[in-house]
Symmetry: C3
Subunit: 146 residues, 3 copies
């Protein structure tokens, strides 16, 4: 069974930014020619995450508000006491971003049927940077049969 | 390696309703005859979700209260300003349901060992409709060896 | 395609305790000799969970505070009315632990590339006991090619 991977790059924006990466996943799927199988989507940073949901711009703003309510940046966090940790000079104070990441997903597996992602009508694969701006990567792995 | 899928249907109730779909997954597993492998369970709507936990009726009520506390239906959400979006006439105001969905899971992978789901003693695969009542579907994909 | 599993054991501490199980996963991977594929990590209890994030001790304390804020142990939960349920004598009052578990993950899939876990630089696979102390198990399944 072929198992093929690809790393995609995303340049993100300040604070929380959300990207619909379904087109890149779909393009990779077409390149592989796999007809029946799975795509593993894997977020490779501790302050990024995934969700599979509706790519509607106003909803994406609601999600940002929601995440900031759950894990406010201005709360006291032990991880942000940088003087008590051994860290590089440019270490960000981003405990809230880690907490948001753990609330969302790191790995998602999407089925492939007849050469297409078997997503529901309104579903997109969304990539979240929770501590931007940065250059980020997402790992894709497709396995299945031709 | 065989990769076999099945779509199951669930008729849901008003608001949040939760269904133990383990029996349907198990029945599908027995039909395939796979002895060693995985079941991918995939929620196909943006206001449904999955969790693997205890199917205890009082706990399921607690989960509903918990989700409503995290994402109250009565909060202001941009996604609910239907007059600012291009939507069908019967579009629901369901931003809270999307947020609940992203807090739970869209894809879960359950191992298969000796022809059985390798769930822990108290674990069931739970399907959540967060914006019912509707007819919903869940995608199952089994891969492995006989 | 080989599909090989292993169950690892973790002895946990009072309340919430968090363990970096990446070394055990990596050791299992080396034992299998798989070069290209996936590890499925599966939490087998309804009050344990997984997250893939940074194994930094102060952050792990922040996560505990965060989970206790989302689902306080002292809130009223129907699941904790033990006199209304048929339960063993030593049944714990742990509704909050179930809610925390559903907020985190039960299944995570980590890609394997060139014989190594394709985790990002700061990522570790973290196992949470949310209702310790207990003897717990985590299920690992590796599939792929040599």
């Amino acid at each position: 069974m072929p198992i093929i991977h690809k790393i995609i790059e995303v340049e993100t924006s300040e604070g929380i930014s959300i990207f619909n990466i379904t087109p890149q996943i779909d393009e990779f799927l077409q390149d592989t020619g796999i007809k029946n199988g799975q795509v593993l989507v894997f977020s490779r940073h501790t302050t990024t995450a995934l969700a599979i949901n509706e790519n509607e711009e106003r909803l994406l703003e609601d999600v940002k508000v929601y995440l900031r309510k759950l894990a406010p940046e201005t709360d006291k966090y032990l991880h942000n006491d940088l003087h008590l940790r051994v860290v590089p000079e440019d270490e960000p104070m981003n405990a809230h971003s880690h907490l948001m990441s753990m609330t969302l997903s790191t790995s998602e597996v999407v089925p492939i049927v007849e050469g297409k992602l078997a997503l529901g009508t309104w579903q997109s694969v969304l990539f979240f940077d929770l501590d931007g701006p940065r250059k980020r990567t997402v790992f894709l792995q497709i396995s299945g049969e031709y």
